[in-house]
């Protein structure tokens, strides 16, 4: 098992790194301290599992968009945290993470848990706080897409908190047209409601390239 640890200053995973480095079932442990390191590590050699801290959740979602689709598809993603709260489980689920590893897990059970996650035997979907909610896993993982620039303008205004009537007035469109287009954007982005559309629009981050 090849592991990449995205080590976050706010919630360092140093103890986990030590445990994994000393385990014979773990072939390699790479440690990334920033986004560029993580992207380079994922592209340079095969990584089975990437582990982020709870505070690195949003960053890790953004990172997912910057790696090759083939790499992203084969990567199992885990959140390791000292405080596995229900909101963290739900957020990780919506961001498409495969599991949450509480750092209170006994040392000898950490690697077996990661192995079960890798094989699909253990998943965040089976956690009681997530299972009961019938959410769409990974709903907020992908980048937002638009049919055309008109739809983009409408969704941008949804993202800044305007109602459909206000959007219709601002863009000089009929309310029927605005609702049809909002519905269309919800559908093509595989979302279920307007709040998700606004969130996806507002978190449609890209790493700026100043080079």
């Amino acid at each position: 098992m090849n592991v990449l640890i995205c080590n976050d200053r706010a919630e360092p995973l140093d103890s986990l790194i030590g445990i994994l480095e000393n385990n014979r079932d773990v072939t390699s442990v790479k440690v990334a301290t920033n986004g560029r390191h993580a992207i380079d590590a994922l592209h340079s050699s095969p990584i089975d599992i990437s582990i982020s801290s709870g505070t690195g959740l949003d960053f890790n979602r953004m990172l997912q968009r910057h790696i090759a689709p083939t790499v992203a598809a084969s990567l199992t993603r885990v959140v390791a945290t000292q405080s596995p709260t229900v909101p963290l489980f739900v957020k990780a689920h919506q961001f498409g993470f495969n599991n949450v590893l509480p750092l209170t897990t006994p040392e000898e059970k950490i690697v077996p848990s990661l192995q079960r996650t890798l094989s699909g035997e253990e998943s965040i979907k089976d956690h009681p706080s997530v299972k009961a909610l019938h959410l769409t896993p990974g709903a907020l993982t992908h980048s937002i897409s638009f049919e055309d620039t008109n739809d983009q303008h409408i969704v941008e205004l949804v993202g800044v908190g305007l109602s459909d009537h206000e959007i219709a007035e601002a863009l000089n469109l009929s309310i029927q047209n605005v609702r049809n287009r909002v519905a269309h954007s919800i559908r093509i982005n595989q979302l279920t409601n307007r709040t998700q559309l606004a969130l996806l629009q507002n978190t449609n981050w890209q790493i700026p390239d100043f080079a």
């Binding site: 109602s163 459909d164 009929s174 309310i175 029927q176 047209n177 609702r179 049809n180 909002v182 519905a183 269309h184 919800i186 559908r187 279920t192 409601n193 307007r194 709040t195």
Partner: protein
């Protein structure tokens, strides 16, 4: 309060006489859920409805299987508001 009057429209009536676009989206759950329908036929004109509905129509889901009856508020050939009563799937002959 006056009782609303429903006036049956002729079957020869065309939808384009009433709306520019027969496809409209109904918004439910406090503005969260968007469901797109197509007007199949406008059956009645409504007068003096306390909720301001102006027309009654048969509708079908645009991207799924399902039919229903819609109260519509039509203004300037635009669907300004709607309230749909979906027909339960068990009542649709298969």
């Amino acid at each position: 309060m006056s009782t609303p009057r429903y006036v049956l429209l002729s079957e020869a009536t065309t939808i384009s006489d009433y709306v520019d676009n027969p496809v409209f989206t109904d918004v439910t759950n406090d503005g969260e859920t968007y469901t797109t329908y197509r007007i199949v036929r406008i059956t009645h004109e409504i007068f003096e409805h306390p909720d301001d509905w102006t027309h009654l129509a048969n509708v079908s889901l645009e991207f799924n299987i399902g039919i229903g009856v819609a109260h519509l508020l039509l203004k300037n050939k635009i669907v300004e508001a709607s309230r749909i009563k979906p027909t339960p799937p068990s009542e649709i002959a298969t």
